[in-house]
């Protein structure tokens, strides 16, 4: 197991380097002179040249990249073009908010998805199954930003049960977390159902039945445990689109997380801020995937550890 973790850690090093390269190249892809863009509008020629010298923008591209990586690993993500404050400071304020939103959303994805999937799989092709699957199909088809607006309209404006927007109390978390978690829950439900149906058809479940075990023991102790293995992978993959989805949901509910920070930064062309936000979200995703992989091994003892 320890070896496996070491091996996976070694594998993510090139991925992380690749991600930093892509993020570094964002600045290079912007049309125009990066020194002029970084200096901001209306900056004098001297300021631009000074900046070019200070930031090493006159050096060859590979040297610039190396110094960029060096800075990133020392926690220096550059400064915002808007207020000249370190990007990292802004990220540290906003990251906990986004992580909190992501945590509650993934909780909804897992709990709702599993329950719905199990209900479906227990009696396939029954009314409850068809009903759950229709809702799941809607869940993967509705745009999250639209679902968010609809929920806001019904629960905050019409019924006035929940706050419209912001991030001040526990009540503020409910609608955004449902909005963000719904799509994933639908996918997990579909996956759980098909995985359960496959497992239930296998010999060892028939043996369990033949032994005269009670149905709920068969479902929960025998079938579900093995059916969950592919579901874990799906949850891991969902975490990626969920992190991406924070961009939309944070904008709908006016939550000051990383996602909204990136969108605002794109609008104001604050490139270092965009780079910092995209980089941090991707690093979080890479490490979550690593965790999921490790969990997959722990749950699935059939895989050869070598």
């Amino acid at each position: 197991m320890f070896l496996f973790i070491l091996k996976r850690l070694a594998q993510i090093v090139p991925v992380i380097l690749g991600v930093t390269l892509v993020v570094f190249l964002i600045m290079q892809m912007v049309p125009g002179d990066s020194a002029v863009i970084l200096a901001g509008e209306g900056a004098s020629k001297e300021t631009v040249e000074e900046l070019r010298e200070n930031l090493g923008l006159n050096k060859p591209l590979h040297e610039q990249y190396l110094s960029y990586i060096g800075n990133v690993f020392q926690g220096d993500f550059g400064n915002s073009l808007k207020n000249n404050q370190p990007v990292l400071d802004e990220i540290l304020i906003r990251l906990p908010i986004t992580m909190e939103l992501a945590f509650f959303s993934i909780l909804i994805t897992i709990v709702l998805g599993l329950i719905a999937g199990i209900i479906s799989a227990i009696r396939p092709y029954s009314f409850s199954d068809i009903g759950v699957m229709v809702v799941a199909l809607l869940g993967i088809s509705l745009p999250s930003f639209w679902l968010g607006l609809l929920l806001m309209y019904v629960f905050s404006i019409k019924l006035q049960w929940l706050p419209v927007a912001g991030w001040d109390s526990a009540a503020h978390i409910i609608l955004p977390a449902i909005t963000l978690g719904a799509g994933g829950a639908a996918i997990v439900a579909r996956m759980t159902r098909s995985s359960m149906l496959e497992v239930v058809g296998q010999d060892y479940v028939r043996t369990a039945r033949a032994k005269g075990l009670k149905e709920h023991v068969i479902i929960y102790k025998h079938a579900l445990r093995n059916a969950l293995i592919p579901v874990i992978t799906v949850v891991g993959l969902q975490f990626g689109s969920l992190l991406g989805g924070t961009v939309l949901v944070e904008s709908v509910f006016a939550i000051n997380g990383i996602g909204r920070m990136i969108v605002d930064a794109i609008r104001t062309r604050d490139i270092p801020m965009v780079q910092g936000g995209v980089l941090i979200a991707s690093l979080v995703f890479v490490f979550v995937n690593l965790l999921v992989d490790i969990m997959y091994r722990v749950f699935n003892k059939r895989i050869d550890l070598n």
Partner: protein
């Protein structure tokens, strides 16, 4: 000479058999998809939307861009079935014309991403070794960006516009196609008929595009249909954020975005564009599910 002639005959037989397998598969596929009610419903939805893009000028009761401030923010009525927006424009007409943008971005971005992804996957799968290693590592990096963040990164560099959204969403489809094509290519290239063609002296280009590519189409089509759903959602999402289509464009995501400001007083401004996106995406998902069941019997049980 005789050896060569018999090889030609054998290869011809192999190719013929291969073609027969393909045509039988095709027949089975059409009957399977015809029997799948959900897929038929999905297909009808998609066709309706596509005809909407052509018929918009005939169907639309008003000019989608004409501002008419004295008729602003009217609720749905006989005159304006979906109401009017904050500038007095007829929402139904805007939605009809907007179908061209929303479908157009979806199709072109998937076409763009699929073309590059398929070529990368064919090359990686066929040649293997270091070429495969390099391509696969690049794909890993692209997949390490969560959700639409890679698209956002691209837009931040290129600037907000509908064309840049198409490129960005397309790029983010590349690794998904490349992965699938790579796997299928590796399977197919080991089949006997490929060896036979190679012995006859066919070059790599002909083997890859004439003989491998047509045999790995099914997973590409399934992936393409599913990707269309995601691409349309992502593109609408980016326009919703103000990073794609700009006002007064009747792109559905952009319409939803301006409707958000009137969610208290005129919720229909946001409801209808969202509904149109949802039904279209539902159509692609239904059709994609049906395609997968029809083309991939392993998934069926």
């Amino acid at each position: 000479m005789t050896v060569n002639a018999s090889l030609v005959v054998d290869t011809a037989e192999l190719l013929l058999a291969r073609r027969q397998v393909r045509s039988e598969k095709r027949k089975a596929f059409f009957s399977a998809i015809g029997q799948n009610k959900a897929a038929v419903v999905g297909g009808i939805i998609i066709l309706l939307y596509i005809s909407m893009t052509f018929l918009a000028p005939i169907l639309a009761p008003y000019d989608p861009y004409e501002i008419n401030l004295k008729d602003k923010l009217q609720s749905p009525s006989v005159d304006h079935w979906m109401g009017t927006d904050d500038k007095g424009r007829d929402i139904l007409s805007r939605i009809l014309y907007g179908s061209r943008l929303s479908l157009g971005v979806g199709f072109s971005s998937v076409f763009f991403g699929a073309s590059i992804g398929i070529i990368l996957g064919l090359v990686a799968g066929y040649y293997g070794k270091w070429i495969d290693t390099i391509i696969s590592r690049c794909l890993d990096v692209m997949l390490a960006f969560p959700g639409i963040l890679l698209a956002l990164a691209i837009i931040s560099a290129l600037g907000p516009s509908l064309i840049n959204v198409t490129v960005a969403v397309g790029v983010f489809s590349i690794p998904l196609f490349a992965r699938i094509v790579r796997g299928s290519t590796m399977e197919v290239k080991q089949l006997e008929y490929i060896d036979a063609i190679r012995t006859l002296g066919a070059n790599d280009f002909i083997i890859i595009f004439r003989h491998i590519f047509p045999n790995i189409l099914s997973p590409i089509i399934v992936q393409g249909t599913m990707r269309l759903a995601t691409a349309i959602l992502s593109a609408a999402g980016l326009s919703f954020l103000g990073l794609g289509a700009q006002p007064p464009s009747p792109e559905w995501g952009a319409m939803l975005s301006s409707g958000r400001d009137f969610i208290f007083s005129a919720p229909y401004m946001a409801i209808f564009p969202g509904l149109m996106i949802s039904i279209l995406v539902l159509g692609f998902n239904l059709f994609g599910d049906g395609l997968r069941d029809a083309l991939d019997p392993r998934m069926k049980k």
